[in-house]
Amino acid sequence: MQTNLIDAIKDTAEGREADAILRTCVHCGFCTATCPTYQLLGDELDGPRGRIYLIKQMLEGQPVSEKTQLHLDRCLTCRSCETTCPSGVKYHRLLDIGRKFLNERVPRPLGQRVVRGLLQEALPRPWIFRPAVAAGQMLRPLLPQALADKVPTAAPGQSQGWPEKSAHPRRMLALAGCVQPGLAPNTNAATARLLDRLGITLFEAPEAGCCGALRFHLDAQEAALADMRRNVDAWWPHVESTQGPGVEAIVMTASGCGAHVKEYGLLLRHDPAYAAKAERISALTKDVSEILAAEAERLKPLLAAKAHPPLKLAFHSPCTLQHGQKIKGVVEELLSAAGCELAPVADPHLCCGSAGTYSILQPDLSRQLRDNKLAALSAGAPKLIVTANIGCQTHLQSGSALPVRHWVEIIEERI
């Protein structure tokens, strides 16, 4: 598409990036077909092609208002459009640049600023978030629906704990994450037990924290960069270890974090102190499904050693796994190899509506997407729903009588 960006942005690094992205879009409209919000709302402005156009106008110096903000806010950042786009448009990068530019020009009303501020501060901090979940459970009847839905109904799943002493020469780091330890402590523990059986020691670096994705998508890109630098610092001594070889990989059990950490290299590329390290961190980062797929041969005998009752389950592939990290069919294959039967799921490319804090900030759309997704997931009468990201897990659980778990727990139970 033709572009004519204003001087204020044209010659900046972000301006050049945005211009290059805009120029790859040929306005064919294919992406509208798989965009969850366009499917629900049927307005060009709520689809990727229209959002790209809104951002283009803004960067070309046209007046912007809360109208553009509304349509950009409604974007889930699910990146389904990127999977569909034959021209290779890096939509999410354009959106990040567009949102930042917009925030500098269109201030949010006080109410929105307060909610966003609270989310930014509370979610990434387990010491606030965990007691908040407990308090939320007590106060659930008093909370507005959008928030009440977000508070998990049950106490966090019971964790059987990490392996007692695991001291294999092969070592991998895990990210504890911010909300996961409070809501689903068994996910990382199960991964650690599973990897231990495969001869790999998994450990967490206590200094690491939130991956930065939450703040990055809440108008706080600078604060997010600080989160990222802190994690790079926390992990670096284990990557470049002075005692023996560094870790083989940094394992992500929440695909949302994985998609973000895999972009550290890109997001910190203009920071001379961190660029090289961040790139190395991103290269080492793997979703737990990638690790297990690489160890498939060693996993097989472990699975074969135990008899498995048949189990029918439905897998929801998070957007951050299938669109963000472009990992497709890998989890499904692992589950099938573990003797699970996968129920067919219609429109598997569509977002469940969780999308980080979207379920709190856009409750109506989020609920519609969740209900559609749950209908698709339960159509094949599964006993259980599994997914690969903590956000999707709690969001789906909030509307489902079926248990929703991380798929890795199922594999771990079967060895």
Partner: protein, 496 residues
């Protein structure tokens, strides 16, 4: 490049806004420039116009009310589906309202026994086939844009696709169309059965480019899925040989399920996206499909291979399974936007010529490409003789669009000289409005105007598109003949 619409109206934005506010629910009307801009063009971004308003109705009653209001106030209306059109058909009118049918996305009924589906106009083409799949049926016309384009748009453009060589265009697969005239009067074309009483006007609404009525419901035919389909990829070291091979296949009495061609620039653009495993050394590839019972397919594939080999194919690959077949086609279907990877902008041409002239046309395109200094990728519905040269240009470079447009006009004029037409399936829209004068005589153009007037006396539906005013024709012909356009009074010509 500005398209100068020579049919203008004196519209009062405030008056029409007030009328439409009264008949549409909240969130169904856009009026600020910020919100209108993203509606200013369709898949042909070179032509743009800012509408007065965009209406997003959800029911037939709302459509009717919008049309009545616009008709009363003499405000033009431009219907819009998914805006994947490549001729500017859904480009807004600066004095008018864009009427989006995107919210009409229900599949109302599938009748597996009668093999029909009743769908709303905003349903995506592919969604019809997906919904019919559990019954072993599909909707045959499959434009490459089928993932996104709507059935309403397909009817309005009489769209074609890969399978149309064997199964017909949209017009051959639609039984009945319901809609509203610009006065808000309900109209029906065709019938649920094959033959209806009265004049058969189905062919009139198919390909009407939003000029005659707003389509609000379509009954389509569904086709049983063949037991088996396989595609042969035939590679050539010369595009003209590939062009001749197309004519050879048809001359041998074979009607392939699909017969398509891509040249080297096109395969290079799509391979990174689809990873189909195309041979990137070859100058051209033909995709030739056979469908039917396994025995029929096996026999036909052998015949196809024999013909293609004789025509000089350097290698032949047959799809081994359904997944591979779909991957081979995915490359063809994504070809246009994939070209966006190698160029910021392109113009997609749409001429149709007799198949035996394909090689000649390809040679001429190569020469024109050198003359204008612009690259061109070729993607053809070869079996139909329908050409889609993609002329690559950079809209940010002054003058390039004009060069690309002149290049395109030469291709279309050559199409007519070779015994073909200026449009195969993308419609005339604004893009080909001037070259219509190269194709039709003034008397023929006048006949089109009379048909239009029978449906839309005031000329309010999609004005200035599809059929040029006679003044516009004269101007074009004079310019091409090297005569400075005279100041013809446009009042002398019929307007719509």
């Amino acid at each position: 490049m500005a398209f100068v619409n020579d049919v203008r109206f004196a519209a009062d934005k405030r008056a029409i806004l007030a009328r439409l506010r009264a008949v549409l629910p909240p969130g169904a009307l856009l009026a600020d420039e910020e919100e209108l801009r993203p509606y200013e063009c369709d898949g042909l971004t070179a032509y743009r116009a800012l509408p007065l308003l965009v209406a997003l109705p959800q029911t037939e009653a709302e459509v009717q009310a919008v049309l009545r209001a616009c008709h009363d106030l003499k405000v033009p209306v431009v219907p819009r589906g998914a805006a994947t059109g490549l001729s500017g058909g859904a480009m807004p009118h600066e004095d008018g309202v864009v009427l989006s049918l995107a919210r009409f996305r229900k599949i109302l009924r599938i009748d597996p026994l009668a093999r029909t589906a009743i769908v709303q106009p905003g349903v995506r083409n592919l969604a019809v086939s997906e919904a019919a799949a559990p019954f072993g049926l599909y909707y045959a016309p499959d434009p490459s844009s089928q993932i996104a384009c709507t059935i309403g748009g397909n009817v309005a453009e009489n769209s074609g696709g890969v399978h149309c060589l064997k199964y017909g265009l949209t017009v051959h697969n639609v039984l009945k169309v319901r809609g509203f005239t610009v006065e808000g009067e309900a109209v029906e074309f065709g019938a649920a059965g094959l033959d209806a009483a009265g004049l058969d006007l189905l062919a009139v609404i198919n390909g009407s480019e939003g000029l005659l009525a707003v389509i609000t419901e379509v009954t389509v035919k569904l086709t049983p899925k063949p037991e088996l389909a396989q595609v042969v990829l035939a590679y050539f070291d010369d595009v003209q040989k590939a062009g001749n091979a197309v004519a050879d296949v048809i001359a041998a009495g074979i009607i392939p399920g699909g017969l398509e061609m891509m040249d080297k620039p096109a395969t290079h653009a799509v391979e990174p996206y689809v990873k189909a495993g195309y041979d990137l050394e070859a100058e051209a590839v033909l995709l030739c499909e056979s469908d039917g019972t396994p025995a029929e397919v096996a026999e036909e594939i052998e015949r196809m291979k024999a013909v293609l080999e004789k025509s000089g194919a350097t290698s032949l690959v047959v799809s081994r399974d359904e997944a591979e077949r779909l991957r081979f086609w995915a490359g063809r279907k994504a070809a246009f936007p994939a070209v966006g990877r190698i160029t910021p902008d392109y113009l997609c041409m749409d001429g149709t010529i007799p198949r035996k002239r394909l090689a000649e046309m390809l040679e001429a395109i190569a020469d024109l490409s050198a003359k204008y200094g612009l690259r061109c990728a070729n993607v053809f519905h070869a079996g139909d003789g329908n050409l889609h040269p993609l002329i690559m240009y950079d809209a940010n470079q002054p003058g390039e669009l004009e060069r690309a447009t002149a290049f395109g006009a030469e291709i279309l004029e050559l199409s007519v000289r070779l015994g073909g037409t200026v449009t195969g399936e993308h419609g005339v829209g604004v893009e080909k409005i001037d070259v219509m004068a190269a194709q039709f005589t003034a008397a023929e153009i006048e006949a089109f105007h009379r048909l239009k007037a029978a449906f839309d006396e005031k000329g309010l539906l999609n004005p200035g598109k599809g059929v040029p005013t006679l003044a516009r024709c004269r101007e074009y012909l004079q310019t091409r003949a090297g005569i400075a356009p005279s100041s013809v009074s446009s009042d002398a010509a019929p307007r719509f």
